[in-house]
């Protein structure tokens, strides 16, 4: 059923938006035509490989941050659900601390507190700034994921717990075979939402000297030194982040519709 329905949607989309699509292509072509003639866009074209490389750095930071954040967040979220107070309280404090701290402060904290190199057995390992920023973003991500996890577990109706308990399932069994399989589906949309927010948060990395897309744009605008170029390059950063985050946001919406509970 689901596959059939999605097939229909796929076919219907271009037909419904054909006019808009043509308009967009036309507009893009016209813009490109005018753009290629001005010196500003020539400079933009010249700098685009550098910008792309900078943006790749942002994406790497966001992906590693969400990976670390997810692992840590699920652990902390699980601890927060523990019946033992000794496990529950540290997890609660972790969540409250990192969820309510400004990201920039956490990034400054990780950047300037961690050493720049580690010496393990006589060999020096560099601890690059981008990794420190990644950790700085992973901390609030973990706290948010812990909350998402807690919320998902809490959203499963209490009757399911009661029904499972009356069937003589243990607490562990209820979690593993009844609650968690439903939770992951519910966690997916907010998790993706958080990922999009973290991606936008990677723009903070340039403030501590990571050579990311914002830093590249600043170098470019200082080198080219044209007011028009400075405006255009920040606009193209806007477009770049939008182009990356918008599909995520649309996919999240689609998933939310699919897993909606009424």
């Amino acid at each position: 059923m689901a596959i059939e329905a999605s097939g229909v949607v796929m076919r219907a989309w271009p037909r419904r938006h054909l006019g808009k699509l043509f308009l967009l292509i036309g507009l893009g072509a016209a813009l490109l035509y005018f753009a290629l003639q001005s010196p500003v866009s020539k400079a933009l074209l010249q700098w685009s490989p550098a910008l792309a490389r900078g943006f790749a750095q942002n994406i790497v930071i966001s992906l590693v941050a969400i990976a670390i954040g997810s692992l840590l967040g699920l652990l902390v979220g699980a601890l927060a659900l523990s019946p033992l107070r000794g496990l529950r309280w540290p997890a609660r404090i972790w969540v409250q601390c990192f969820r309510n701290a400004p990201w920039l402060v956490l990034i400054y904290f990780t950047t300037y507190v961690f050493p720049f190199e580690l010496r393990i057995g006589g060999v020096y390992f560099a601890f690059p700034d981008w990794l420190k920023v990644t950790i700085g973003l992973a901390l609030p991500a973990s706290a948010n994921i812990a909350e998402i996890f807690r919320g998902a577990v809490a959203s499963i109706p209490a009757t399911q717990w009661e029904a499972a308990r009356s069937l003589a399932f243990t607490r562990g069994q209820i979690f593993r075979s009844i609650i968690l399989p439903q939770c992951f589906k519910r966690m997916l949309p907010p998790w993706m939402n958080l990922y999009a927010v973290i991606t936008m948060g990677t723009a903070l990395a340039s403030l501590v000297g990571v050579h990311d897309v914002i830093d590249t744009a600043q170098i470019a605008s200082n080198t080219v030194n044209k007011t028009g170029f400075t405006v255009v390059i920040y606009l193209s950063l806007l477009a770049l982040f939008f182009a990356y985050c918008y599909p995520i946001s649309r996919l999240t919406q689609a998933l939310e519709r699919r897993y909606a509970f009424y």
């Binding site: 010249q46 490389r53 590249t216 605008s221 400075t230 405006v231």
Partner: protein, 279 residues
């Protein structure tokens, strides 16, 4: 017997202390020069804010500029591989102090305050002063006219202190391009930056036709290479190299190669001075 047996343990701190002191004497040089000579790596913090002193090549994405050329030349003469670390005005001093970089070649001019917290190579490699871009029909003709006026500049600039003393109302942006954009948006009456940035802009760029620069240069200060405080050996090792670069005209060539305009009269002056001394 009044004499008691004296345990060796009581002398342990003294012995340890003298041992440490001796080993300190035994080492050839200060920590940075030792590190450079042991690891054969020279870690230089460079400011890559864009422009002729330090930026990146859009095609190869490699760092370029006068700062970068000078760092590579130093590495070549010290026989060390150069690692460039991009720094920001906000974090450059911290990077140097915590040991992340050994030297700073980061458009950081010498001031008395900086000279107290850091060490530096006595011979400057450049000298640059500030100038202000103002609208052609602006009433500002002297630096004193900036008193009480909003003035744009960039963060960590060495002109912040003299401007504050003039009584200007400062707006410090992250970099020069934002500051210049703010000037064009009439957020301030003047933008104060290095003369090597403002002068070519007003001379060559058509969109800056409506602006003029203020002379004389504000606070012309020598650009020096910074080290950690008290590292005399490193400074003594690098100083003759810089003098030689002046004498041979390498620095003047590097200035031309990186299209730094107007050419600094200080470089010619220093070249003459060292040619006279060295010959």
């Amino acid at each position: 017997m009044l004499l008691k047996r004296v345990s060796v343990k009581r002398f342990l701190p003294v012995m340890l202390g003298s041992l440490i002191a001796l080993s300190g004497v035994a080492a050839k040089a200060d920590a940075t020069l030792d590190k450079i000579e042991q690891r054969h790596v020279l870690v230089v913090g460079v400011l890559l804010s864009g422009g002729p002193f330090g930026g990146i090549d859009p095609a190869t994405q490699q760092p370029r500029g006068l700062n970068v050329d000078l760092a590579q030349e130093l590495g070549k003469q010290l026989g060390a591989e150069v690692q460039l670390v991009p720094v920001l005005p906000a974090n450059r001093v911290q990077f140097l102090q915590q040991g992340k970089v050994d030297l700073l070649i980061a458009n950081m001019e010498w001031t008395a305050e900086r000279g107290e917290i850091l060490g530096f190579v006595p011979t400057p490699f450049y000298r640059v002063g500030g100038t202000a871009a103002v609208l052609k029909d602006s009433k500002i003709t002297r630096w004193e006219d900036l008193k009480g006026q909003p003035v744009c500049t960039s963060q960590g600039s060495s002109y912040i202190k003299p401007l504050t003393e003039l009584g200007a109302e400062l707006k410090a942006f992250k970099s020069s391009s934002e500051s210049l954009l703010a000037l064009r948006g009439n957020n301030c009456v003047a933008a104060v930056h290095d003369a090597t940035l403002i002068n070519p802009l007003i001379a060559d760029s058509s969109e800056w036709q409506g602006y003029r620069a203020i002379s004389p240069e504000l606070n012309p200060a020598p650009s020096v290479i910074w080290t950690r405080r008290g590292e005399q050996d490193t400074q003594a090792r690098i100083d003759p190299i810089i003098k030689q670069l002046h004498r041979s005209g390498w620095l003047i060539d590097a200035q031309t190669r990186n299209h730094i305009t107007p050419a600094s009269p200080a470089l010619v002056e220093l070249q003459k001075q060292f040619q006279a001394n060295g010959a």
